[in-house]
């Protein structure tokens, strides 16, 4: 707050809610793709699948297994009480257990299907163009936003976070460092565990951010500079949820 004759408002950190909950609500988010699976999924030609395709394969496979189990169990229960293949004949006893089991399967399996599919599938909106909303939002760590860029993110955080990265064009090839991210509230400690590292494929660089569990929630911002020249090349902001 500055005090001249007339008081002024500080610029807001943001003017809209964070909507991107794939990035917001996943901890240890890394580039939008699962990388810790032991699955040996591969692409159709036998070559190792890339992250996205492998993730899809795993998700689809899991969905299949879950659905098959659900159908199998449902039929088994129906047959058990009907003593014949699953159909619509009246049942004269054992109904409550059948109903309870059916519902339990729904309870247990339904979230699994959807979680599996949710992690596997990314379908663009059918109709709406991807135009910005009423607010100017920073780029999020949405995989769709970064999938084709030469920077990947690795975030180690037990809590939801949103990352906003604004980097000058063609800066990827330069030696980048962060001088630490600070909150407006000076009482909050800076976030210092941030590093840029050469990526292992395609020359991309990798930005790693580690958020200690005890770090206060809030928005932390700072600049990215050229380690050699000290020139400012961009800004980095991270919002840590409660």
């Amino acid at each position: 707050m500055s005090y001249s004759k007339r008081l002024h408002r500080d610029d807001p950190v943001r003017t809209g809610p964070i909507r991107n909950f794939s990035g917001l609500y996943q901890s240890n988010y890394s580039d939008g793709h699962s990388s810790n699976s032991s699955s040996s999924a591969s692409s159709k030609n036998g070559a190792p699948a890339d992250g996205r395709e492998r993730s899809q394969d795993e998700g689809i496979g899991l969905a299949y297994r879950v659905i098959e189990k659900h159908i199998r169990d449902g039929k088994k229960n129906a047959e058990r009480f009907n003593d014949q293949p699953y159909n619509a004949r009246p049942i004269t006893d054992g109904f409550p257990e059948l109903l309870e089991r059916t519902i339990r399967y729904q309870n247990e399996l339904l979230p699994l299907w959807l979680q599996a599919l949710g992690s596997a599938v990314r379908i663009d909106s059918l109709r709406m163009p991807n135009t910005p909303g009423p607010f100017t939002r920073p780029e999020s760590n949405n995989p769709a936003s970064h999938g084709s860029k030469a920077i990947s993110l690795e975030i180690a955080s037990a809590r939801p976070v949103q990352v906003s990265l604004d980097l000058r064009e063609h800066s990827e090839a330069l030696p980048l460092i962060s001088l630490g991210l600070r909150a407006v509230d000076e009482n909050k400690p800076p976030l210092n565990d941030i590093s840029f590292a050469p990526a292992t494929t395609r020359g991309a660089i990798r930005l790693r951010i580690s958020v200690p569990d005890s770090h206060p929630p809030g928005t932390y911002s700072g600049v990215i500079v050229n380690r050699d020249s000290g020139e400012t090349l961009g800004t980095l902001s991270i919002s840590i949820a409660e």
């Binding site: 007339r6 008081l7 002024h8 408002r9 807001p12 003017t15 809610p17 909507r19 991107n20 909950f21 794939s22 609500y25 939008g32 159709k44 899809q56 689809i60 969905a63 659905i67 659900h70 159908i71 449902g74 129906a78 619509a88 009246p90 049942i91 004269t92 109904f95 109903l99 059916t102 519902i103 729904q106 309870n107 399996l109 339904l110 979230p111 299907w113 959807l114 979680q115 599919l117 949710g118 599938v121 990314r122 379908i123 663009d124 909106s125 059918l126 709406m128 909303g133 009423p134 607010f135 949405n142 995989p143 936003s145 809590r159 407006v184 929630p217 809030g218 928005t219 949820a241 409660e242």
Partner: protein
């Protein structure tokens, strides 16, 4: 020197902003003055006490169990108020609010009469406003697990109550027991055992089959655009799905109970399919990405059956949001993203009870405590101040990069107060309450004001004017008037700012109507033997009914009524007045509501309360309790003893979320105007739908915009897909 904040309006958003800005943690940094038209706070939530201390509301208000921000502030308010329970019957927030777990949906069957689907929602862990004990609950996995659990509830607790004949005898009674639900009410005819078993079987099959269908639907949604899935399987999957759906439709037949259950399941499953199909898991816009669709359109795209889209469940979701453009039931439109977000929050994130009712009027249990606490904190209240204009700085006055700012606030003074300060609350046996009429004895030349309609937009009478100037009188402004008032008070902004013009052009509002009945017979005697219910989807034009029997002991009738009922709905447009001084407009609309209510009582209420009508088309008017004994003994004229309202003032109009329009909302965080923020359920507040929680979130955002507090992360559910 404290920073002076002028808060315009006294609704939920304004009060929340004032509450935040005057928290003790700020140590008096902000000096808040609230400017209020007329004599009472509350905005669309204002209420008053009339004859016999009866409660008179703007409509039927309940608080949803997901109103985390609203309950949090309310609880803090009561804690700070620290009323003595020995002296005040509503001394704690739990005295003020109580669980109302029964929700009903009415449906007209093919044969004509209405049926009601009664659902008992089991209590959820915790209480609204508690600190969040789990990880951020607004996640997909959380919603999905809650969805599954809710499906179970729907299956077990669903109950159809066929409407009764005029002899009061139940025609059918279906019941599925649930140990967690309260005991079934009496009066059910013994059911044929074989029929019951067959029905239960169908439930089981329904669940299983629905699960299979949904699995296929999800797969289809997932693989529709995936190159790694063989294309030839897609038609096969679709054929299987179609076959299975057909089997279910055959199973259902004319069984309305199973129809309800299937439609509920179909809705839930379809919504989840849509989330996947539209990639809402990862879209940075969250559910906003589908806001160009109407909710029903989007559900249909995602495979919901036609019967589900025409179901009372879907219709009820529109009723709750009054989502009828121009109040026209033929133009039901609700932005899909807003509807989906609201439904998920409503159904799956509530704590304690899904719905909470208030023990007294909303003014009494919400705004009176806030008024008292804010007074203690030093907030000044200026009643009888009608905002006339928000004046902006001239462009030539701005230096360099200076942003435009509010230079002055112009008010009409509706009345001068004798002692300088109006004391708005009156004591009802120990409970501070608002009055339905101003206390003119506190006003200079009070007799002169007896017929003034202080809250009417069209009564422009005033005794003077006042202009507040920036730096002289205020530093910051929280503009908390309703959206409908913006075109009248923000001409400067609208002339200059395309975004504000888009906002008032594209965001639509609707008038609403409500009436309340006090009756001399209890609900059972009238033919309703169900629990105290909140019901929507009923006969238009009054689709929503609240059983408010719990208010009887709160009022002060010489001979108390045996039942109280509230009804409300959108009010169809008749062409809004163009002249600000059209003093007859409000009376004309009130008369329309009166006629609507009388027609409704004669022709429709018998579907719910069969013994409230003497013959078809003849309501028993003698049932209506008369608080002051000044009306005819019988006949329709007796309705004049009841309370009804046409909420037609611009600021009272309910804000809609029509498809394609939420993007035109402006956030309280927006700083286009350097010293002004906005607050109200019409702003971009995250939920983006008209309700108490939206208003409270908006007020908290407005406080953040000025003071940097509360932190955005503390505003529960603001960050949400």
């Amino acid at each position: 020197m404290p920073i002076r904040v002028a808060v315009i309006g006294g609704g939920c958003a304004s009060i929340s902003a004032a509450f935040e800005l005057t928290r003790p943690e700020h140590k008096g940094k902000y000096e808040v003055t609230i400017y209020q038209v007329g004599w009472r706070l509350g905005g669309k939530g204002a209420s008053g006490r009339g004859h016999a201390a009866r409660i008179e509301e703007h409509g039927f208000h309940v608080w949803m169990g997901f109103y985390e921000n609203a309950f949090r502030l309310m609880r803090e308010c009561y804690a700070e108020l620290n009323r003595d329970p020995a002296k005040c019957r509503i001394s704690d927030w739990r005295d003020a609010f109580f669980p109302a777990p029964f929700i009903g949906v009415a449906s007209r069957s093919q044969a004509g009469p209405y049926s009601t689907w009664l659902s008992y929602f089991t209590s959820a862990e915790g209480l609204p406003g508690d600190p969040l004990t789990q990880e951020y609950p607004f996640s997909v996995s959380s919603y999905l697990s809650h969805t599954a659990s809710a499906l179970r509830t729907m299956l077990l607790a669903a109950e159809t109550r066929a409407s009764r004949g005029h002899d009061g005898a139940p025609r059918t009674e279906n019941h599925v027991s649930d140990e967690s639900a309260p005991p079934s009410r009496g009066g059910a005819l013994p059911e044929d055992l074989a029929n019951r078993i067959a029905r239960l079987l169908k439930f089981g099959l329904l669940a299983t089959t629905a699960g299979i269908i949904e699995a296929l639907e999800l797969l289809r949604a997932a693989f529709e655009r995936s190159a790694i899935y063989p294309d030839f399987l897609l038609p096969l999957l679709e054929a299987m799905s179609s076959t299975a759906r057909g089997q279910i439709e055959t199973l259902l037949g004319n069984d309305s109970e199973l129809q309800f259950v299937w439609q509920a399941i179909d809705m839930a499953m379809t919504a989840m399919s849509g989330v996947i199909r539209f990639g809402l898991f990862s879209d940075p816009r969250g559910f906003d990405a589908i806001n160009d669709y109407d909710f029903r359109e989007w559900m249909t795209i995602n495979g919901a059956s036609e019967s589900t889209m025409n179901s009372p469940l879907v219709r009820s979701s529109y009723d709750l949001a009054m989502a009828y453009e121009g109040g026209d039931y033929q133009r039901a439109r609700h932005a899909a993203g807003v509807a989906l977000r609201g439904s998920l929050r409503f159904l799956f994130t509530y704590r304690g009870s899904i719905v909470w009712k208030m023990r007294a009027g909303m003014g009494d249990v919400v705004f009176a405590p806030f008024y008292e606490v804010l007074k203690r904190r030093g907030v000044s209240f200026r009643f009888f101040h009608r905002l006339e204009a928000v004046k902006l700085s001239e462009l030539g006055e701005l230096s360099g990069s200076e942003r435009p700012y509010v230079k002055a606030l112009e008010f009409a003074i509706q009345a001068e107060v004798r002692d300088g300060e109006y004391r708005p609350l009156k004591d009802i046996d120990g409970l501070p309450c608002w009055s339905s009429t101003p206390d003119c004895s506190q006003l200079v030349e009070g007799q002169r004001h007896l017929d003034w309609k202080f809250e009417s937009h069209w009564d422009r009478r005033a005794v003077g004017t006042k202009t507040l100037k920036v730096t002289d009188d205020f530093d910051f402004v929280v503009l908390g008037v309703g959206l409908g008032a913006i075109p009248f008070v923000c001409q400067d902004i609208l002339e200059r700012d395309q975004r504000w013009r888009d906002m008032v052009t594209h965001l639509k509002t609707v008038e609403t109507q409500a009436f309340q009945l006090w009756m001399s017979e209890d609900m059972e005697s009238l033919g309703w033997d169900g629990p105290p219910i909140s019901l929507c989807g009923f006969a238009r034009p009054f689709d929503t009914w609240g059983d408010m029997r719990h208010l009887i002991p709160e009022e002060r009738w010489p001979s108390p009524p045996k039942s109280i009922a509230y009804f409300c709905s959108a009010l169809a447009d008749s062409g809004s007045p163009t002249e600000s001084n059209d003093v007859n407009y409000e009376a004309t609309r009130r008369e329309q509501v009166r006629k609507n209510a009388i027609t409704f009582l004669n022709n429709d209420i018998g579907q719910l309360w069969p013994r409230a009508v003497r013959d078809p088309g003849k309501f028993r008017w003698e049932l209506l309790a008369d608080a002051n004994g000044t009306v005819a003994e019988d006949g329709e004229a007796r309705f004049d003893s009841q309370f009804w309202t046409a909420n037609v003032n611009p600021s009272d109009r309910y804000v809609l979320s029509l498809p394609g329009t939420p993007k035109y909302r402006i956030s309280p965080l927006d700083n286009t105007y350097d010293n002004m923020t906005i607050a109200g359920d019409w702003t971009a507040c995250g939920l983006d739908t008209g309700c108490v929680e939206s208003a409270v979130i908006s007020g908290r955002l407005a406080a953040h915009a000025i003071a940097g507090r509360p932190a955005l992360g503390e505003i529960v559910g603001y960050d949400h897909p």
